[in-house]
Amino acid sequence: MARNLGFLVVALLVLASSCESAIFSPVSDSHRSAALELFSPIDGSFGSLEETYEALQTFEVLGIEKKPDIRTSACASVVDTLQSTSSALKDLVHALRVNGILKCDLKNEAFRGIESRLKDSLNAANSLLDFYYSVGGLMLVKDQTSAVDVHLGDADKIFRSIKALSQSDGRWRLSSNNPESSNDAAGIALETLAGVISLASSEIDHSLIATLKNDIAKLFDGIEKYDDGTCYFDEKLVDARGHHGPLSASASVVRGITAFAAVTSESLNLPGEKILGLGKFFLGVGIPGSAKDLGSVPLILSLPATVLSVTKNDQLKVRVSTVLGSSAPPLSVKLMQIFVSGSKDASIIDQKLKFDPDNSVHVLEKLPSNVNVGNHIFSFEIVFDDPEHKKNYVTGGRTKVPIHVTGIIKIDNAEIAVLDSDLGSIETQKKLELPGENAVALSANHLQKLRLSFQLITPAGQAFKPHQAFLKLRHEGGVEHIFVVGNSGKKFEIVLDFLGLVEKFYYLSGRYEIQLTVGDSVMENSFLQPLGHIELDLPDAPEKAARPPPQPVDPYSRYGPKAEITHIFRAPDKRPPRELSLAFLGLVLLPFFGFLAGLVHLRANINNWPKSTVPATFASLFHVGIAAVLLLYALFWFKLDLFTTLKVLSLLGVFLMFVGHKTLSHLASTSAKLKSA
């Protein structure tokens, strides 16, 4: 069964066979729900202030309305950090950031204390991060309260000391000791310098700002690009803050440039396609970047559905929006060209799509008539209604999108016939309804041929060549044979000459089930159909013919119960009849009685038994001991095991030794006395 399905491949082709036509879609609810899942508070708080800030910032950027309520714990933490004199610079800044979003109640004295601390650390700063946090803190204080004066008197000097850390390729170093430079540090530096410019009490020297613009231009020269137009800033070195990768480096640079663009009145003249590339990079990573206010807003053209059915008359829909999903200015989308994948055909259409304001999609109501089923690449162009918008929005020229056009393929003139080999005359011929139910019953012998033929026609009326066209013959014993149905341009036909196939069929005569499979990814009605059966009469197998391969065993039987095993035991030995055994038992006891009789005859006596009490008891005990040991042996044979027996025997043995020694030594002394006497 699995083999059948394996042959019927009705998978859709993978989009974007070439990177040139990747699809990007703007921020959606899936991003928002992912963010909510990622940032879920534990016990009403996020842990550190940094995490709290990141969570709140993400919710704000993505436009999530329903946030978890962590206000009380966060505000408490903020107030603590801002009022304590031992907080680190970084913690102060994070606390201020959280305060900026949550707007906790902070007194002006607290702000004054923070402001003096920040200014002190700014004067004492010697690394880029120190500058960054001090200036950033001052900016936040400025935003949150007007009661404190945060302006910098010596802004020029600070500007120059930060600029001293820059390098000729546009990157920045983190401190003067550290020779390694990075894009990440460049972003931080730009943000800091923008802050300095905005905090300056007097105008900063214009030449300094001009050199900074040059630096930014040099930084953009070092941008990395993918083939599909995405651009990003990469980090080659691991810096003090750890290797964060292209995402954080690009985000840092974009943040810096945004901040700088906001404080200068002049334009930055950044290359438009690189900004679009950055926007695509952030979208491609799945996170919206801070490309909001870069000056040029990238517009993304997206399609909700890239598989269209010709038979169902699907309409082509196109959406144009900004990176974060907000709507684009009034514009129109034109379908310029249609390329057919895999061939050089290209038809020039130049048709404008109709704009549906309710759903804000551009719709192509009817596909051009010459679009056949298959893979195509549609080339779109965005045309602004107002030419002014061209300055503010970046479209990226022609956008190529792969479209997969499917349709119902008609099967015509399907018939199956049995032909006589020599003359080619038809013995039986049956018409088939495909793809429908068929149950033909044919019979043939090895001198005849089987012919199957049909035509495939697309909705546009052209001949169609599917990926798969197989004919399968399955014997009742399970042996299967598969043949590919060849086509001759117009018609699909297969002729099975049984004379030549006799050996392939392992000379198995009998009933063969016929099955036809026709399939393709653009064919909406691909099918795998049993057509009926054919009784084949093949000659008998000669001696040396190949055996049919063994059929696979039902996989479930491997784990099922196995056959019952009947054990064959050795035949038990013959035992003698009971009476014989008993007779011999009596016979064995006879010598014993003979022994007793002989003892009597010899006048054996126990006159030497001791007369006095103590020796007499010892003598009795001796005999009792021996009897006990023999009784123990009898018990050992009947039921005890060796260990118990040995244990008891050891005790009895010790007793017997003692008693026996006493008795025998008494006897010995008695006989010695007699001898001497």
Binding site: L590, F592, G598, L599, Y633, F636, L664
Partner: protein, 116 residues
């Protein structure tokens, strides 16, 4: 003629043996009787085995060896107790008897284990 001669000789030999045997001390005669008893038991067991087959073999061995073993121990007792034996002059017969009892007990422990 020869046959009667041999028979007569055999009879005369037998008589002399009998009379010589009568002279042995009584205790030795008791031991001899015991030995005869043990051997007779062994022979009967062998005959039984010959009739019914040797299954279970270990039981047969156990029985036969018990008889043979105890006969051997009795023989050694007889040697040690015999006063005419110069070699064991200094060995008190009680000591020999104690050895006999001990060895028999050990033998029968092994026999009972092997009997199965």
């Amino acid at each position: 003629m020869g046959r009667s001669g041999t028979t007569k000789d055999a009879q005369a030999l037998f008589q002399s043996l009998r009379s010589a045997y009568a002279a042995t001390p009584n205790n030795l005669k008791i031991i001899d009787l015991y030995i005869v008893f043990a051997v007779a038991t062994a022979v009967i067991q062998v005959v039984y085995m010959a009739v019914v087959g040797s299954f279970p073999f270990n039981s047969f061995l156990s029985g036969v060896l018990s008889c043979v073993g105890t006969a051997v121990l009795a023989v050694s007792l007889r040697i040690q107790v015999n006063k005419e034996n110069k070699e064991f002059k200094d060995l008190p017969p009680e000591r020999a008897f104690a050895d006999f009892v001990l060895c028999n007990l050990v033998l029968h422990l092994v026999i009972m284990n092997f009997l199965g």
